[in-house]
């Protein structure tokens, strides 16, 4: 009897409590994939997420096409009388055009030869060590998601012997390319490594010392990267990897494309803000509780960039030298009283403090990409801001 009473007490409490609380704590959650924000600035060419993704995956033709399209858009915006419209510097535009034509008009063998003539055979890694590579066709082993993403955009699948498992299971990367790379980098043992004999392995600064020693014993050169804390860092690593992998032209074009895409999105935000509808926004992460990105974090930097382009918009991004994210209470969120919330989360979790505030769910995997896909993260932020602008 005692046990039944106890169970009844607990069950009764829970049923009563959760029946009433679950329905009352739902914010307005807006999924990003249903938005058609391009209609806002109808005279500009639409930026399609899929096209952007394909270009970032290494489609050089599409890169060149989009760069030219965005230049025309910038002209159109200037003609419309919009101020603070940025354009790709003319030398970079010319460089991109020449490289694009060279890649388009050359056979694979010719391109390999041209690349080899243009490349710097020795590059300095993030730890200050010089790595030399002079083979025309390299065998590469990226151990980190960051370098794997960059190399997948630059190289043919035959040049990459294995990929980190995180990349192999990610929907962000092209299945066609990944399907041709069978090996998982984290499962390679020393004997398999000996058989595959990569020319260069791309490691992180925190790679276990015994792994580094193994590569040294197997005479595999290692390129070590540190944290990529800014877009400039990403572009710098991209160029270095381009030279190491004998794809300097592709790397330079992709680097210019990153600049061009970011400027194109900047211009769209600037154009939107001529009729400002938003005063404040907030960017949050959510796993078990809410976190706010700092300015050390790439998404924090992107948010600051977007906010600087949208007239009068504020966003709470704290300054921090060592932390990428800081915990934040619902009380602080309420105090900021944002017009919309941008929530980078795998799952749509709503905040009780702001039931009426629209919440835009961003793909966290994309938002935290420390490689060229950071452009896609900025695009998603723009989509969310544009959608909030319309509400």
């Amino acid at each position: 009897m005692l046990y039944i009473l106890t169970i009844a007490f607990i069950a009764g409490w829970w049923i009563t409590a959760f029946k009433t609380t679950t329905s009352s704590s739902i914010s307005v959650i807006v999924p990003l994939n249903n938005l058609e924000t391009e209609k806002l600035i109808g005279y500009l060419s639409p930026i399609q997420r899929e096209a952007l993704k394909e270009a970032l995956a290494g489609n050089t033709r599409l890169m060149l096409q989009l760069i030219n399209q965005w230049e025309t858009d910038a002209e159109a915006l200037t003609v419309q009388g919009k101020q603070n419209i940025d354009k790709l510097p003319s030398d970079k535009l010319l460089q991109a055009t020449v490289i694009g034509q060279l890649i388009r008009d050359s056979s694979p063998e010719e391109l390999q030869r041209i690349n080899n003539e243009l490349r710097s055979c020795c590059v300095t890694n993030d730890c200050g060590h010089s790595i030399c590579a002079n083979k025309i066709s390299m065998k590469l082993l990226p151990q980190t998601d960051m370098t794997a993403g960059l190399l997948l955009a630059l190289c043919d699948p035959e040049e990459i012997i294995a990929l980190p498992s995180g990349i192999m299971n990610s929907p962000l990367y092209s299945n066609k390319k990944i399907a041709n790379i069978q090996s998982c980098a984290s499962k390679l043992r020393s004997e398999q490594l000996y058989l595959l004999s990569p020319d260069i392995a791309c490691l992180a600064y925190y790679t276990h010392p015994s792994t580094k020693e193994l590569y040294s014993n197997l005479s595999i050169s290692t390129y070590t990267t540190k944290n990529l804390d800014s877009i400039h860092d990403i572009q710098n690593t991209l160029i270095k990897l381009g030279h190491l992998s004998n794809h300097p032209l592709e790397a330079t074009l992709l680097s210019i494309f990153i600049d061009s895409a970011l400027i194109a999105i900047d211009n769209r935000i600037t154009a939107l803000s001529k009729t400002p509808a938003l005063k404040s926004t907030m960017y949050l992460y959510h796993h078990h509780h809410y976190m706010v990105p700092t300015n050390k974090c790439l998404s924090g930097q992107l948010m600051n960039r977007a906010v600087s382009k949208y007239q009068g918009l504020t966003c709470h991004i704290p300054d921090h030298d060592t932390h990428w994210r800081l915990p934040i209470s619902q009380e602080t969120i309420l105090q900021s009283n944002p017009d919309c919330l941008l929530l980078a989360s795998a799952t749509p979790i709503a905040t009780e403090a702001l039931k009426e505030t629209p919440v835009f769910i961003l793909d966290e995997y994309v938002q935290d990409s420390p490689n060229q896909y950071i452009v896609l993260a900025y695009y998603d932020i723009f989509q969310a801001l544009a959608a909030a602008h319309c509400l």
């Binding site: 106890t6 007490f9 607990i10 409490w13 829970w14 409590a17 959760f18 609380t21 679950t22 704590s25 980190p164 498992s165 995180g166 299971n169 984290s186 796993h287 078990h288 509780h289 809410y290 932390h323 800081l326 915990p327 934040i328 209470s329 619902q330 009380e331 602080t332 309420l334 105090q335 795998a346 799952t347 009780e352 403090a353 702001l354 039931k355 966290e364 995997y365």
Partner: protein, 331 residues
């Protein structure tokens, strides 16, 4: 008596500070609270919807872990006993990790507390069952079986975390849960924990006299008419409720259930009629004060769980040195 008053004052002070300290100044919060209580507005309120639930959770968890530790130390007549000794906390923890992996916590807020409590109960049942299969439930067998099962569970949890090491979103969720944090606690968490804490604490308070008798030894207690098996089983159930509720609401708060009962016993002696109420007040006061400290000094790198573990660990070492010095002096 003096220590009771001290902890009551500490609890009162930390309660007031918990309710006063926040990002929004109290004046503004108070005006909104009045409006809410008068039914003028139904807006989310920092005092009623964040600070108050957080305070209740802190009080419940502090009291629960301290009492659970005191009960287990008394039942096992071992000062090193804590909720982890029977695998109760490991069982709850593993169940929660499984829920995170299967993403079942997104289905309903009730899934997480149910799994924590269910895991704690299941492991308690397994340990008890295995001990009975060995012939009765003597304390030594219970401890050994508990340690073995606990080690197995920890190993299985490590295996799961290693298997899913590439799923960094999952790993981050588990890490944030494991360190024990009071950020974003709401009435949902209160509802998860409060009924479990009430039943658990009432159960422990009801058997204070029996625990005093059982401290004399199993045979002695039986001779004095205590149904040792029944009392012990019920107390274990109460401990599982207390630990499961704390796990569900705050996550892992290491060392608290081990160190706090020690302090309470040193201050109050071994009479459970006084020890258990002191553990309730002292546990609530200390945990609430730790949280106030974290907020006052803006220690964003530390969570409640890690601060408790650091403080508990240092205190335990000091305690060991002190008792060693005393025994040397006696010799």
């Amino acid at each position: 008596m003096k220590c009771n008053i001290f902890f009551l004052l500490l609890l009162a002070l930390s309660c007031v500070l918990t309710l006063l300290i926040g990002d929004i100044p109290f004046e503004g919060v108070w005006n909104k609270t009045i409006e809410r209580l008068q039914g003028i507005t139904a807006e989310w309120n920092p005092l009623l919807d964040e600070r108050l639930p957080r305070l209740i959770i802190l009080i419940c968890t502090g009291a629960s872990l301290a009492v659970a530790g005191a009960v287990l130390q008394s039942l096992f007549q071992n000062p090193l006993a804590s909720p982890s000794i029977l695998g109760i906390s490991s069982g709850g923890s593993l169940a929660v990790v499984l829920i995170f992996i299967l993403q079942l916590h997104l289905l309903h807020p009730l899934v997480l507390p149910l799994s924590a409590v269910g895991g704690s109960f299941l492991i308690l049942g397994v340990v008890y069952g295995l001990t009975i299969m060995q012939g009765g439930a003597p304390l030594n067998n219970l401890i050994l079986t508990g340690i073995a099962i606990s080690t197995l569970l920890i190993a299985f949890q490590s295996f799961l975390l290693y298997t899913f090491r590439d799923h960094w979103q999952l790993i981050q969720t588990i890490a944030e849960w494991e360190v024990g944090s009071t950020i974003d606690r709401s009435w949902q968490h209160v509802h998860m924990q409060l009924p479990l804490t009430i039943i658990g604490l009432l159960g422990c308070l009801a058997y204070r006299k029996e625990m005093n008798v059982m401290a004399l030894g199993e045979e002695e207690a039986k001779n004095l008419g205590v149904n040792v098996e029944k009392v012990r089983w019920r107390l274990f159930l109460c401990v599982a409720l207390l630990v499961g509720g704390s796990l569900a609401a705050l996550g892992m708060i290491a060392f608290f259930g081990l160190v706090l009962p020690h302090i309470a016993r040193r201050l109050q002696g071994t009479d459970h009629r006084k020890l258990i109420p002191l553990c309730i007040v002292a546990g609530a006061a200390v945990l609430t004060s730790l949280d106030v400290m974290l907020r006052l000094f803006n220690l964003t790198n530390l969570s409640l769980g890690s601060l408790s573990a650091i403080g508990g660990g240092i205190f335990f070492i000091l305690l060991l040195f002190k008792s060693q010095r005393r025994s040397t002096c006696r010799i």
